[in-house]
């Protein structure tokens, strides 16, 4: 946790204005990342020292406005109103002054002391546009400090100003006029609230404005008041009156007024010299990246390299980690034997604890490298283009264009795929993507297919594996359709996304981002994975004295008990049931379990003759296929469930996920096996 501080800054701003860059520049690695209480939106806090002060800075979620219509926006205004930071810093992209100032106006209305950090002035000047910051500051009556977040320039002055200005009672002395008619109505509303409250005229103004805007939170607050009923009547009258006069929706009237003020301001402070007709780099690259025909092939090429790079680079590191843990576990067991420790203790420490920790850590290089590349794509600005080109297709299964990225990551490993759903802004989009992503066949399932196709379909191995992958994609699409139809009827969030200019990523930001991801995985998912590894170990080793995972062990007994469930699917031998139970820890463990259970030693290098024979005794080609289908679709591994728990902030969704996937797996494998028999493949 962040230690005590005596000065709190809330950092806010539109998306893509350099907010994270400034935050990282201020705090470095002294950050604390968590979720906002009860929300799935990330909360970042950091500490830094400035002169004699220890300053806490809270990174508020990037948003375009302060109304309470998205989770992010509500968080920002809640924070400002309830946690009472000493000062708000709004970072503004000078190239996009008008849109950014919209939020400034709302912050001014809210009234907490405010400093504007004007970023990217140099980029604006490159476009032959100049900005009069002194005038801007004067017209808004808010201090404006020019900074270069990327080069960490102007930051000391920013913090100095922030501390100085925090004594101010209000953000600005300017009182915005919303038009004569609107002001009159605001006045009428104020009369009601004024009756018994002892509130400042400023807060009164803000309350009346929020009420006119139909801000749900403020409305709720006032329902307790005795004048609530009459106030409601007055509100309705005011809204009707204004909408009649302007022939516009009430929000449009207010937005129009705010933008009117801003546009006037822009004319005063911005001077455009010559319009540059040359195509910028962004425009040139977008001609390809967002082309109807070239966009998708380009994206697939990029993804191909991302995958190649990830797996090529992480495979040796993963092997290395496995080796180290193998050696470590051997050393430990040698020592323990030397000291005369009981067999169960040795097995517990090596198989459950060291094996479990090793299992968690082998994921680290994979997640680290994948997220490094994804963060680069996001930082450069390419991700929003991907969302753009994939939107048409993804929309058909009720998803946002951006959801394609987590899904495709799932082919490598579902864990980073699910973690990457954070790029989706809409909560329901995220949930839907999380729910269908386990059907995407991850890398860990491949060894299972390799084993079975090697034994049963040696001639058509590639084709059979391909069909399994396609089945997974098909199931994800079908599940998407069904969820959209029945569970999230109204979600399909409208597609609106900003396309920022391309820019160089900041290495510091990317590294911090990757570190956060990896660390939060190890901390949160790691404990769950370890916990389940230990449970499985206990089940496989008890009652005392049985051979590990043999038919007499608890897990063997469970395997025998549940195996009849799989009889209609064609595989009712207890070994495959136990293998499936072990597959819950990690899907590739299924292969190793068969090796252990059928008593073969080296299955890693080549399929042992005896294992192949044993499998052929217990499976037919058809039941082997049904088994692969079941492995593809059934309960995702513990690591996936752990990240789902972490991302959805409740146990409800991982439990739902585990049960519905297993039911679907059973049904589909049943159809495959029984259908195959009817068609004469049995």
């Amino acid at each position: 946790m962040v230690k005590k501080s005596n000065f709190v800054i809330g950092l806010t701003g539109n998306p893509n204005v350099g907010k994270s860059t400034l935050f990282n520049a201020l705090t470095g690695v002294r950050q604390h990342v968590g979720n906002w209480p009860g929300k799935t939106v990330e909360k970042k806090e950091g500490l830094f020292n400035f002169k004699d002060k220890k300053i806490k800075i809270v990174d508020l979620p990037g948003s375009y406005s302060l109304t309470a219509y998205t989770e992010e926006e509500a968080i920002t205004s809640d924070f400002i109103l309830e946690e009472k930071p000493n000062i708000i810093i709004q970072i503004i992209d000078a190239q996009n002054l008008v849109r950014n100032l919209f939020m400034t106006i709302q912050l001014m209305e809210l009234g907490k002391p405010l400093v504007i950090a004007l970023n990217m002035v140099d980029l604006l000047e490159k476009k032959k546009v100049s900005i009069d910051t002194k005038k801007l500051s004067k017209l808004l009556d808010v201090p404006v400090v020019v900074i270069k977040a990327r080069e960490q320039k102007g930051i000391d002055e920013l913090i100095n100003t922030a501390i100085k200005i925090s004594k101010r009672k209000r953000a600005s002395g300017i009182k915005l006029s919303y038009g004569i008619e609107t002001n009159d109505e605001l006045q009428k509303i104020q009369e009601f609230i004024k009756v018994e409250e002892k509130i400042s005229p400023f807060r009164l103004g803000w309350l009346s404005l929020k009420l006119l805007e139909d801000d749900l939170r403020i409305k709720q607050e006032l329902t307790k008041k005795p004048y609530c009923f009459e106030l409601k009547k007055q509100l309705q009258e005011s809204v009707n009156h204004l909408q009649n006069i302007y022939n516009k929706d009430i929000n449009t009237i207010l937005t129009d007024a705010r933008y009117g003020f801003i546009k006037g301001l822009e004319k005063e402070v911005i001077s455009k010299r010559i319009e540059d007709k040359k195509k910028s780099f962004t425009e040139k690259f977008d001609d390809i990246a967002m082309n109807k025909f070239l966009g998708i092939p380009l994206f697939f090429t990029v993804m191909f390299f991302v995958f190649q790079l990830t797996f090529r680079l992480s495979a040796p590191i993963m092997e290395w980690i496995e080796k180290i843990f193998g050696m470590f576990s051997e050393t430990v067991s040698t020592f323990l034997i030397y000291w005369g420790a009981p067999g169960w203790l040795i097995s517990f420490l090596t198989d459950a604890v060291i094996g479990g920790v090793g299992g968690v850590l082998t994921f680290v290089p994979l997640i680290g490298i994948l997220f490094l590349l994804i963060a680069l794509m996001e930082d450069v600005g390419y991700m929003s283009r991907v969302a753009y080109i994939m939107d048409k297709f993804m929309h058909k299964i009720g998803l946002h264009g951006k959801a394609f990225i987590p899904l495709i990551l799932g082919f490598g490993c579902n864990v980073p795929g699910i973690m990457a759903t954070r790029i989706l802004e809409n909560k329901k989009d995220r949930l839907l993507t999380i729910l269908i992503s386990p059907f995407i066949s991850c890398g860990a399932r491949l060894p299972v297919y390799a084993l079975f196709t090697g034994v049963f379909f040696a001639k058509h191995q590639g084709l059979i594996i391909f069909s399994i992958y396609m089945l997974g994609i098909l199931m994800a699409i079908i599940a998407g359709f069904i969820f959209k139809k029945f569970m999230f009827k109204k979600l399909s969030s409208p597609f609106v996304i900003e396309l920022p200019s391309y820019r160089m990523p900041t290495m510091k930001g990317v590294v911090i981002h990757v570190w956060e991801k990896v660390w939060s995985f190890v901390r949160k998912a790691g404990t769950v994975i370890l916990f389940f590894s230990i449970i499985i170990w206990v089940l496989a080793s008890f009652p005392v004295g049985v051979e590990y995972a043999s038919s007499e062990s608890v897990i063997g007994t469970i395997g025998q008990a549940v195996s009849p469930v799989f009889r209609p699917l064609g595989f009712d031998n207890w070994q495959s049931s136990v293998a499936l139970l072990f597959g819950f820890v990690a899907k590739e463990v299924v292969v190793g379990t068969f090796g252990t259970l059928y008593g073969t030693v080296d299955i890693g290098n080549s399929v042992g003759v005896s294992l192949s024979d044993a499998l052929q005794n217990d499976f037919s080609p058809l039941s082997a296929y049904a088994f692969m289908v079941f492995v593809l679709l059934y309960v995702p591994c513990v690591a996936v469930l752990a990240v789902v728990k972490k991302e959805t902030n409740s146990w409800k969704w991982p439990l739902f996920l585990a049960s519905y996937t297993t039911i679907i797996a059973w049904v589909v494998a049943f159809i495959v096996y029984q259908g195959g028999r009817i068609l004469g493949f049995g």
Binding site: Y64, V98, Y388, I389, D391, V496
Partner: protein
Amino acid sequence: MKSIAEFKKGEKIKITCVQCGKNFSRRISELGLFDGSEIEIVKNDNFCPVIIKIFDSQIALGQGEALKIYGKKI
């Protein structure tokens, strides 16, 4: 008056009517897209989302949404 999905690249439009749901209208109005504002079509291939320029930023808008926003050429 036609929907902005029917305009072509380079055309400058004054928005006359936004017929989206309340929340979505609010959302895009905050971006500067509302009854009375002026925008420019940056790209419209009638397939992928429409890209429009509002003030100095480029915003992509789904075809379905673009069909519900009307305007006239300036």
